[in-house]
Amino acid sequence: MAERSFATEVRQLRHGAGTTLHVEGILAVTKALLQSGVAYVGGYQGAPISHLMDVLGDAHDILDELDVYFENSASEATAAAMLGASVHYPLRGAVTFKSTVGLNVASDALANLASGGVTGGALVILGEDYGEGSSIMQERSHAFAMKSQMWLLDPRPNLTAIVEAVESGFELSEVSNTPVLLQLRLRSCHLHGAFVAKDNVRPPMTVTDAIENPRRELDRIVLPPASFRHEREKIDQRLPAALDFIRERGLNEVFGAGEADIGIIVQGGLYNTLNRALELLGCSDPYGRTRIPLYVMNVTYPVVDTEIVEFCADKRAVLLLEEGQPDYIEQNLNTILRRAEVAAALHGKDLLPMAGEYTASAVTRGVHAFLSRYLPEVLAGEPALLLPESDPRSPFAERVDPQAVQARPPGLCTGCPERPIFSALKLAERETGAHHISADIGCHLFSINEPFNLGATTMGYGLGSAGAAALNSKDADRRTIAIMGDGGFWHNGLTSGVGNAVFNDNDQLLVVVDNAYSAATGGQDLLSSAADHPRRSTGHAIEKAVRGIGVKWTRTVTDTYRVGELRDLFVRALTTKEPGPKVIVAQSECQLNRQRRERPRTNKAIKEGKRVVRERFGVDAETCTGDHACIRISGCPSLTLAANPDPMRTDPVATVTDTCVGCGVCGANAHAASLCPSFHRTDVVVNPTLRDRVLARIRTAWIAVLSAPVERRAAKYEVA
């Protein structure tokens, strides 16, 4: 069950021609796929396109009606290989994943796909995770487009433009027999806007038709000598066909032609930011009526040289806005302009930052520098962000003590079952000493930060175990630890990590965090999910897979909240003489998903008058001495600070807020780490039974008897 349900939103996918849809970017993309007659869709979830997978998952009724095949791929490589269905058949297919990490995983399949070429339109929708809020290394998809020769679309961040890019992307792919990458930047995926819908189109050939009428063409298969011909074909036939299509269809746009003898060339995805910068500088308006000629590259690869030459021919100078590095497009333009002997000066990374996101500030500064040099008379506005920071009118003038604003990195959620795993590991290391810990991708990577400070490297999804492969020595007196999530395990970790460790007789301890979902990407089900899924096969235990591949020492922990037991197990795994990899599968359900499932049930039970026990934890302010050791071993967002109610003590006490879900980890930590006795659990009985009431009476009476003398004595010394 995914974190967010799109069951309501997907109804919009049924709307026909002429309806204006007010939706999020990912829903617009789905609608565009259906309008394009797509025959099959796949992909692997990951921000920012996780929700695209969730939308498709929730849209199965509509997909079924249109005979569109959809699957949740095992990895990006699987998704890319799916596009093999478009090699011989005129099937339109689309896959989606997060870039650039997804392209890394998929590039083997994509390179083969691009070499042989496609018959049906093949579209890869990339969620470009770059800039603010990104969780991955900062690289460009552009490199992949160039190296395998796949066309790269970068549409303006506008739903109509995005929908059109999907439709023209399929056509471009078909006329040039080349797979097409459609890049959606982080903010475009979460963009809410509006567009006018068209009717959905049933694919002219369905997957079923293709299966029943198999075809093969030998020269489309990547094997010599065909592979040598493919490279030539890319240059002699596919590229010219693509350039013709892009030109004829006007996929790239020119605005403000003839307004000035200078111009700006911009990637489509940056167009809105550029227009805002021009507005602030007094050179454009909200409808894009610009005083500066613009060439908007909605296709950033290939660069259409004739269009560039035409745009630059009558200009003194041109500025290129190209986000990220290396400056592939700038290098390309320089070659084009030089070959064509166009005199216009080309500016780009000399006036704009070489690295980093092109935010409104960065673009406004760069454009201002360019215009001040070549056409200062058009500058009618001077936004405050151009002022030096020392100017009190600058938005960046210091108005708040920098010490008072501290970083707030994402962390594990309240009740996360991974928190006790890291608490236990931290405690185990107190007994065994520190180890090299190789981390992986997933929520558990937050353990590298405070308060756990565990983990040294993260080499890629599912590569937690492989990342420690070299640190395997028979002479060492301790072993390495590797961590992997269930998502990474099924993505590739079983083979790249566990299988490799068995084969190479690696002595490492591998901890597989099994929270029953691909939790970091929004709670999608996977092979080992416990839930029954109507359309997928689940319940395949990780321990079985691990044993099947040859691991002898393996334990499954079904309740990670028992910190003390888990700590002891870690110590055993780190000290056992048993050779080969040691695998601990630490199972507990993702608390967010659990709450989503349980809360409605509990509320229903309460309404029906059934007995329900509500649990939450608390800290006695009197017993707490304000040392915060409990926070340092847990970091739970619900466990925070409160002013010390004791007038004699000055440091704040620990406190548990109302957001506590009663997971019990703070109590377990208090036990396992011998913390203070101030933790307690409160069980409130809702809809008590007769037994509850009678028992409560007896207890109250007994306590009243015993407490009377205690309170009488205290009253002698205390004032009420």
Binding site: Y287, T359, C443, E622, D658, A670
Partner: protein
């Protein structure tokens, strides 16, 4: 180019929230309001999918439908930006006070333009929470920045208001947005957007209404200028109200106590301690209230003669007070730390704290139970071998602590801790019995050791006070490094011993007090003593014991 008509500009709104707080819902509501009013609305975010608690920015632009024909040569729809531009944001909504500070720091909120709507509660960042002492950022700094960094500041505890209505903060903030009148839409339209979203409508509307009204009240002002450093803050009685009701109450209470401590100290303690209370008249004014707390606490902890011993100890140091008419730091802090040390947290004391009536009542209140509703309180206890043997009479505890058999027995019983139901007959009786061992405490091993150590510490204070008052104060205050239980307590005690050794060596040096204060901070900087070891090495007191 000259025939351009001035076109309207978009209304720009940035929402700074933490993942999982409903910033997205708030953005959706704003979009819905605007769209029903015929605006073009665009919202974006960089929210990760599932990660919670991280700082997140949502951004909304609203563009009015033009009343005249669209200008020629432009696009059919306005081009809206995806980033908040520093200096160009009309409204900033911050779900928490530090996030408001972040909006100002990032230039989204500026004094010439921005209406800032911020909840004044604090959700502490992890760096604030894990500090061993008080790592909290001074909220007044943030509140002050909010006043100075915005064209208009609307502030209230919107989380609390949402809680009152049984709803979430996005609803009360949405109400506040409506209440500011910064957007050209009427209240009805805002409420319709909540109704249309269809979930928890009633409670959302109630929170909306509270937020709406709160936005029309003046925002809280910083309470007081605060001194740097993490030490105890002297209570100053200012005319401007502090933001936190708990602080307001505490300030008022302290004011009342100080007045009473001068005029009628007997009213600040129970009837059996009235005669002892009279003794505080010998102390400087500023230390009396604290000493009375100490009287009360030592008597409950042990008995009135223990209080006599407490007062003797404070009087001994108080005689050397250099600043009796001012803050009387030496006496007041001695009164504080001596009482806390004398009432060390042993199993008898914890047992007593657990069974007190007001504690159970507090817990009932926090859990929002109705009268008569069954509730149970389960304690997570983990008594350690030395904690048990320390409580027993020295003659019994000593041999037991050396007995391997007893050690194994305790370890087996407590390795995974014990859970005691204080609200049950057995559990309560057990804790009651523990508390009832109070008369045996003076014969326990730990009691003897603690009294010797307390006197040794005070000896050092007294010896130092005559020549170096500031250093004596620091020696008193460095006791604050001893906190917690188990390993934390052991580590604190080791640090304390290092600090006292250093203090002895520092005597006679001009910078002694400053150096010791620095060492105390270093002792609180980490859990393994690395910072303290480095600071000791740097301080030139090498011969001090290493932590």
């Amino acid at each position: 180019m000259s025939n351009r008509q001035p076109t309207p500009r978009p209304i720009t709104i940035a929402i700074l929230a933490m993942g999982g707080e409903g910033g997205g819902v708030l953005a959706d509501w704003i979009v819905a309001v605007a769209e029903t009013a015929g605006y073009t609305a665009q919202s974006t975010s960089v929210a990760g999918v599932a990660q919670r608690t991280g700082a997140t920015v949502y951004y909304v632009e609203l563009f009015p439908t033009p009343t005249t024909d669209l200008p020629e040569g432009g696009r059919a729809e306005p081009i809206l930006a995806l980033f908040p531009t520093p200096g160009e944001v009309d409204i900033v909504i911050a779900s928490e006070l530090m996030e408001a500070g972040r909006a100002i720091q990032r230039g989204f909120c500026t004094p010439d333009r921005t209406a800032l709507i911020a909840s004044t509660h604090r959700v502490y960042a992890i760096t604030e929470r894990i500090a061993m002492g008080d790592g909290r950022v001074d909220g007044d700094l943030l509140l002050d920045a909010a006043h100075r960094g915005a064209r208009r500041f609307v502030g209230a505890d919107f989380l609390e208001l949402a809680g009152q209505a049984g709803s979430v903060i996005s609803a009360s903030l949405f109400g506040a947005l409506a209440g500011t009148g910064e957007l050209p839409f009427d209240r009805e339209r805002f409420e319709d957007a909540v109704r249309a979203s269809g979930k928890g409508v009633e409670s959302s509307l109630a929170a909306f209404a509270l937020g709406y009204d709160a936005a029309r009240q003046p925002p809280p002002r910083p309470a007081r200028p605060r001194t740097a450093g993490g030490g105890p803050v002297a209570v100053t009685i200012g005319s401007r109200p502090p933001e936190d009701p708990a602080v307001v109450a505490a300030t008022a209470e302290e004011r009342r106590r100080r007045a009473l401590a001068d005029t009628d100290p007997g009213r600040l303690v129970g009837p059996a301690l009235r005669d002892r209370a009279a003794r505080v008249a010998d102390f400087p004014e500023a230390a009396r209230s604290m000493a009375l707390h100490g009287c009360e606490r030592t008597a409950v902890y042990q008995n009135p003669s223990y209080t006599d011993r407490y007062l003797d100890r404070v009087a001994r140091v108080g005689a050397l007070e250099r600043d009796p008419r001012g803050e009387a730091r030496l006496t007041a802090e001695t009164a504080r730390h001596t009482a806390l040390w004398m009432c060390y947290q042993d199993t008898i004391q914890v047992g007593l704290q657990k069974i007190r009536r007001r504690r159970i009542e507090d817990i009932r209140e926090r859990a929002r139970t109705e009268p008569g509703q069954p509730m149970q309180v389960r304690e997570y206890l983990h008594p350690q071998l030395e904690e048990i043997t320390d409580t027993l009479p020295a003659r019994l505890g000593g041999p037991l602590s050396r007995s391997a058999l007893f050690g194994r027995l305790v370890a087996r019983l407590t390795r995974n801790g014990m859970v005691v139901n204080t609200t049950g007959v057995v559990g309560y009786t057990m804790l009651w019995t523990m508390a009832a061992m109070r008369p045996l405490r003076p014969r326990s091993g730990r009691y003897g050791r603690e009294q010797v150590a307390i006197d040794a510490w005070l000896d050092l204070v007294v010896e130092t006070a005559a020549s170096d008052y500031a250093l004596a104060c620091e020696i008193v205050e460095c006791r604050r490094v001893v906190k917690g239980y188990g390993d934390t307590y052991r580590h604190g005690s080791e640090s304390f011993a290092v600090l006292l050794d250093a203090a002895r060596e520092l005597r006679g040096r001009d910078d002694a007090a400053t150096v010791l204060a620095g060492l105390t901070s270093a002792a609180l900087a980490d859990e393994d003593g690395t910072a303290l070891r480095a600071a000791v090495a740097a301080s030139g007191t090498e011969s001090a014991r290493t932590a």
